[in-house]
Amino acid sequence: MHSEFLMGNAAIALGAIAAGVDLVAGYPGTPSTETLENTAKYRPEGLYVEWSVNEKSAMEVAAGAAYAGARTMVTMKQVGLNVASDPLMSLEYIGVKGGMVIMVADDPGPISSQTEQDTRHFAYFSKLPCFDPTSVQEAYDMIQDAFAYSEEYGTPVFFRPTTRICHAYASINVKDADEYKKNSPEGFIKDSKRWVIFPRLSNANHRKIEARNEKLKDVFSEYPRNMILNGGANAGAADAAPEVSAVQSVTASKKGIAAGGISFALTMEALHGRTDARVFKVATPHPFPEKLAVEFLTGLDEVLCLEELDPVIERELTYVCGKYGLDVKIRGKLTHDTANAGENSLDLIKQYINSFLSEQENVAVVDQAAIEAPQPPAIPIRPPVLCAGCPHRASFYAVKVAMKRQKTIFCGDIGCYTLGNAMPLDMCDTCLCMGAGINIAQGVYRIEPDTKAFAFVGDSTFFASAITGIINAVYNQAEMTVCILDNSTTAMTGHQPHPGTGRTMMGEVVAKVSIEAVLRGIGLEFVETVDPLDLEKAVDTVKRAQEVPGVKAIIFKSPCVAITKPKGKAAVDPDKCIGCRKCIREIGCPGIVINDGFVCIDDSLCTGCGLCALICPVGSIGGEVHD
């Protein structure tokens, strides 16, 4: 054992390595991404790590390896699980031989996601066990438990941290390399009665799954990370090994708090030693530790449930009260005592607990000092924007210029380029989910054939889920232009390699999958690659594409500025600048600023992409720029 300061995702990676994981596959997605990256970084000999082309592929690769007796982990964000739900729902019936952990990171807020969906529901829906860590240390320890349970019961299990676990750092205790579990996979043993899914097998296995989950309710009631605490009085951090459930020492309080995930940690902070509430820590929201819940509820009048996303614990406790005839009022999201959307902050948790535990109604106190205090000046809003020099800005601008005054729809997709929606570009009319833009554009075109339909998709998203949409468009004779914004990386999630980059997560150099060849293979005749920073040529390419019928593709190819050396710095010649501010109005680059009323280039941001120099009507912008 030694102590290390680790990000939650790194702790999960090291925990999986300590559990002897043999294969890790995943697709990048905030807040899950660093888990797979850290398994590659700390990779012991014999561990195979890959970025799969999407979550469905990752799930299937991990399942295959687990069929062969390997310990496997698959990583993704919550919306990635939607992509992988097809193999997931069937894998539930087949099961695994080696331990398989499905690490899905949820994103309350949401901070960087499309949805606030709750993976605990997916665990319930797919009938798989779910582990929900409350801290970085617990994430490290618990993922090792998750592998053990998975292997013991022959089923994949969910491991569901949230953003505040994934992206928290803590100094935690981790095992030394000689303490790691060693695993030697048996290999795949042919047995079509076990590995081939047929209705009869599904029926038989469905019965077994239901019986297993009944048993797991009892097993999890004894799982030491599910526990009842005497308020905030239990000394030591939440990470310390718990001393069995301490019911006997619980005070005569008639109120209880049930919590899971980061909300449990925040509850313990908020209670700060006070013991007027019994606390139920739920580490396995599914199957729910029913016996322990009854023990917790017995003797209480009221329980407040503190959890993020959906009221999973709250519904389970309400059910337990009904089933066992317990007269306990369960409060939370369903009773409007807590917010039903967004993250739980420490302030919110304190407020919930204070009003739950206080005897009298909250009386609004007028704070005279606060009224008389100076009011803060207006603080600027800082929405995320495309970086200075980002080639996506130039691609969007080229299409905008080429299609000026025509009836158009610009369907966006998931990635940095979603930020093309911001003013002044305003080039993202729709955004739904990975790869959807290609098909949405076709749908709009069917109803409004006089609209010029465009779909913008990034290179990684192209490989992940755009190809089938393009085949659909070609097969069904749609009229559209597909713009592939190829910056040679998966930028938004922190620059992961993908099939088009010619590098793998294990550092191998491999043949690049050519986007152009894929498109030609599908049957597209107009496929052109253009440098978006060559504005004139880019605009011309977009215009020429409109003269051709059917599905056209333009590959705007220029590397992400965050991983390439700046080309130089632009400079404004103050003698030539007429102050028209067209550069600012047209492209909204954060590298162009106004100082004392004059247009200037911010040297710390400019990459010398040269787009502003091409836009200036009087040629006042020069310096070292892209040519």
Binding site: S3, F5, T30, P31, I111, S112, T134, S135, V136, R164, H167, A168, Y169, A170, S171, A235, G236, A237, A238, I262, F264, A265, L266, M268, E269, S345, L346, D347, K350, A373, P374, P376, P377, A378, I379, P380, I381, R382, P383, P384, V385, L386, C387, C416, L419, M423, P424, M492, T493, I584, R585, G588, C589, P590, I592, V593, I594, S604
Partner: protein, 193 residues
Amino acid sequence: MIKNIVLCGVGGQGTVLASKLLAAAAMEKGFTVMSAETIGMAQRGGNVFSNIRISDGEAMYAPMIGTGEADLILAFEPGEAVRMLPFLKKDGFVITNTRAVKPTTATLTGSGYDAGPMLEYLQKKVADGHLMQVDGDSAAAALGNPRVLNVVLLGAAVRTGALGLTEEDILNVMGKVIKEKFLDLNRKAFTLA
């Protein structure tokens, strides 16, 4: 005892390295450390913050800090100091960089935003002698590398004494966190008055 620190700024200013240095120095002294960072979409020019909590043994469960609980706010941008000010404890310290980073939206709309009113507000709200205004960008530029802004500001924060860490504590762990070839530069930046 627990020390609560808020680091805040605009994406790309280097708040992460500053929090790593603080954590490494605290761990070296046997303290436990927790922190929470902003990662993802908010990084691209958005406002970012980190919470850092250092405990000498007192039970600590969560990495997040509540309103009125921060012993020190280390702001890389004056408007961001104002944004995070509700987290400051009564008599807590504020170290703020004086240069405003103008958001693209303000440039586009032509709406004014500059450091003056932000700093004036901080002067009114923060207890006497507990506000340090540092022209960190000029100091970093004088050293020939604007990227050491974070370490310049961290030096000022440590010298308040509010963190329970000394200059030596940080200097001792710099070698563990920072690449050899940038070490001298960072040491100079950190000790810059």
